[in-house]
């Protein structure tokens, strides 16, 4: 599989990463999301990483790039569902997730995106 499905939910785009990310998959996701934000006039992007067993600096950088790119287009990205073991590891690795919104789960992520859009 070379592409990760992107679902539309109201004015939000939802992505659930359920496979081990290799480079091409990551590049395609950035490309696809950027276009879908514009084409669907999305108000926000939610990326669920609860299935990811590993987040390395490459995936961290990819998530950061997605967040910056969608923000440039006017849509915030929230990354949700990071596993506890992954959180411990990325901090020790030195990833700061600076500039990336994170939330505990999909519900909280949607809540966060709604609050951005209502100007709260």
């Amino acid at each position: 599989m070379d592409r990760i499905p992107i679902l539309k939910f109201g004015d939000l785009l939802l992505v659930s990463i359920q496979v081990d990310m290799h480079d091409r998959l990551a590049m395609n996701l950035l490309d696809d999301l950027t276009h879908r934000v514009v084409d669907d006039r999305a108000g926000g992007v939610l990326i669920d990483i609860s299935s990811l067993e590993t987040v390395d600096s490459f995936i961290g950088r990819m998530l950061g790039n997605i967040a910056s790119t969608t923000r440039a287009l006017g849509a915030e990205t929230v990354v949700v569902g990071m596993r506890p073991a992954v959180a411990i590891t990325v901090v020790e690795l030195g990833l700061t997730f600076e500039g990336i919104n994170t939330a505990l789960n999909v519900d909280k992520g949607v809540e966060m995106l709604r609050s951005f859009n209502s100007g709260a």
Partner: protein, 138 residues
Amino acid sequence: MRNGTRVVHSECLKLQESEDITRARQVVRSWAVDLNFSLADQTKIVTAASELARNTIDHGCGGKVRLERVSEGDREGLKLIFEDRGPGIADLDLAQQDGYSSSSGLGLGLGGSKRLVDQFAITSKPGEGTCVTVVKWV
């Protein structure tokens, strides 16, 4: 490494293209599970392997990783040896600092991986290649 370290089992994986990183992560994970590492420690050694495998491919022009299940006294561990025949690293101290990157990366590869394992050794000769050895004990 101290005397008395025994290699119980080993395997070699090639690292040439990006897909090989995914493969290396899977194999390291399955070895870590077999060794009964805690979930957090499995994640740490797999993440370190991912960073170092990427270095081997992106900076070392490709190479290989050798996995070894090692035992020393009554403890067991997983040793990973990454070898490439790339350009080598001129300043090893600088290369291990956070934020230092010769390319467009975040520069966390070497320094970050070092924090995720128990033992870390690197040797490199400009023009000949680089070898990084890490060990995580159960």
